[in-house]
């Protein structure tokens, strides 16, 4: 429903909004543009967009030099692995709290949220030493477990708010009709729960993909995801901006696309259902 607004005001607001949006988006846009320049053109100041020789060679160089796909594969495995693992624990928990709440369910949810308040540095040293002794440093399994635990509270909260919206009467009706718990899950609950679960998956993949504290401290090579890959560009080496840009573009593109699709779910998940 569009409100009746004078044309002139509408245009003025449009121009202001576009200008601000452009400024905010500019670093990303600039990264994408730079990734298609030659290294020589990339460092020109003032930048020269008209006569630059456009090229995709940086993308090839990045792959050859540091094996981008290995890191990307790790990012995918960590994001999907930690999400699947977390769902395994979170779905039953959220289901139980939503449909058979006890007296302490609210407290339990708050407690889970409070584990997110614990700063990771309080756990860094022991986790590092435990991982070292169990030979879990730089393994996918180890970092998947950490990422799972890190996001478990958010996942449970988010699923809980979705499950709560499923009317309990439907479950009672199916129970009256003699459906077992298993059948109830498969035929009644699952179809209604799947959209919520999908949103939760999306959010968790984004969070796991971008997690940088634990992935930087616990991985070096074999299990290193894209966060670590990009960090390897932190020591400057001659002309490297085009390569850095190409690597960055590849690292953020998948999540940018997912994120744009997931805006609504993101709000809900990150605010623990308080803003919908």
């Amino acid at each position: 429903m569009a409100r009746a607004v004078p044309k002139s005001r509408r245009w003025l607001m449009t121009i202001i909004a576009w200008a601000i949006a452009f400024v905010i988006f500019f670093p990303i846009l600039w990264t994408i543009i730079t990734s298609f320049k030659t290294e020589g053109d990339a460092v020109l100041s003032p930048p020269d967009l008209l006569t630059a020789g456009w090229t995709t060679e940086s993308y090839g160089v990045v792959q050859d030099r540091s094996n981008y796909f290995k890191f990307a594969m790790n990012s995918v495995m960590l994001a999907l692995g930690s999400t699947a693992f977390a769902l395994l624990l979170a779905i039953p928990a959220a289901w139980a709290m939503a449909f058979a709440p006890g007296k302490r369910t609210k407290d339990l949810l708050m407690w889970m949220l409070s584990t997110k308040m614990m700063p990771p540095v309080g756990a860094l040293i022991p986790i590092y030493l435990i991982f070292r002794d169990l030979h879990l440093l730089d393994t996918r399994g180890g970092i998947i477990t950490v990422l799972m635990l890190l996001n478990l509270p958010i996942i449970i909260w988010m699923l809980y708010t979705y499950f709560k919206e499923i009317p309990g009467e439907i479950l009672e009706a199916s129970r009256m009709d003699g459906a077992s718990v298993g059948k109830e899950l498969i035929y009644v609950l699952a179809p209604m729960a799947i959209p919520g679960i999908a949103s939760t998956v999306l959010l968790n993949v984004i969070l796991a993909w971008n997690e940088a504290f634990w992935t930087l401290s616990l991985t070096t090579k074999n299990a290193a995801p894209l966060t670590q890959f990009i960090a390897s560009y932190s020591s400057p080496e001659g002309l490297f901006w085009a390569k850095l840009s190409a690597a960055s573009t590849m690292a953020i593109a998948p999540i940018l696309v997912l994120g744009w699709f997931a805006q609504k779910q993101l709000v809900r998940g990150l605010t623990f259902g308080a803003v919908k």
Binding site: G102, P120, L149, A212, Q263
Partner: protein, 287 residues
């Protein structure tokens, strides 16, 4: 309603998550507390000995601690201020009838999806480079002296990078909240010619109180733990916060005891903040 049977089943369903989170919280915390009372250096293994509160004494009297604490608070405070004030303004702007609103919205929230190591390096090199960066070029265009951000203002540079990531988050949440406001109410206010200030005071502020609380809570959790932006830009020396200092002590200086004491102090500080936040949010979420 719930029978004994379903209640037992419910407990069994919740138990694995609770157990996992409990262990995740208590085991590392317990070990950190234990280590913090030891003289324990990774370069000198097998020589651990109990030294009481010495680690705490050293950590607390280290000038690096006060500076890290100050940097932590400055990062949280300024980024919160920027993202709340900027977020309210942007959300109000994007809630207007403008052309191409969904596209503008996409551009504004994009930085939130950029991984921290990428935003740190893109800003450090391509935006803030004192000679070839875009900001340097802009300064020169306006006849100003380019700023060497990471040499002269490392903390400010980190704050700008982090704010760039979190302003979109605040905007997204606040905009979502504004859009859930009753469209007819907005229209009525407009038809009645409500002055913008009264509109803001009596309609927007009450409606945004709760989402703002949520934004403050969530951003504080994440902002206290800013790490990659400092680590990757190499500005830990002067802009390092508590997480960076603990990381530095433990994994770069190999001083497990000292780092653990620092970790415990960070936990205590975070809990003081969390205590107030949870009370605030608890009140706000009940309603």
């Amino acid at each position: 309603m719930a029978t004994q049977h379903t209640r037992t089943l419910g407990r069994m369903a919740v138990a694995p998550s609770v157990l996992a989170l409990f262990l995740w919280m208590i085991v590392p915390l317990g070990m950190t507390i234990y280590f913090s009372f030891l003289r324990y250096n990774l370069l000198d293994p097998g020589n651990e000995s109990f030294i009481g509160l010495v680690n705490y004494k050293y950590f607390l009297s280290d000038p690096a601690f006060l500076s890290a604490l100050g940097n932590s608070l400055k990062i949280v405070g300024s980024v919160l201020a920027i993202s709340i004030i900027g977020g309210v303004i942007l959300a109000l702007l994007l809630d207007q009838a403008i052309y191409g609103r969904s596209f503008v919205r996409l551009m504004v929230i994009a930085p939130f999806f950029v991984m921290p190591t990428v935003s740190a390096l893109v800003w450090k090199n391509m935006m803030m480079h004192p000679v070839q960066g875009v900001l340097a070029w802009l300064s020169q265009t306006f006849g100003l002296e380019p700023i060497d951000w990471f040499t002269h203002h490392p903390l400010l540079a980190v704050i700008i990078i982090v704010a760039w990531q979190w302003l979109p988050f605040a905007t997204l949440i606040l905009l979502t909240a504004l859009q859930s406001m009753d469209e007819e109410q907005k229209e009525a206010a407009e038809m009645d010619g409500t002055p913008p200030l009264s509109y803001f005071r009596y309609m927007v502020v009450p409606h945004l109180a709760r989402p703002i609380t949520v934004v403050v809570l969530i951003e504080t959790i994440f902002l206290l733990n800013v790490f990659a932006e400092i680590y990757v830009t190499g500005s830990g020396g002067r802009a390092g916060n508590m997480p960076y200092l603990v990381y530095f002590q433990g994994l770069l200086n190999f001083d497990v005891g000292g780092a653990s004491a620092g970790g415990i102090i960070a936990v205590i500080l975070a809990n003081i903040v969390a205590f107030f936040l949870m009370r605030m949010i608890g009140k706000n979420l009940e309603g």
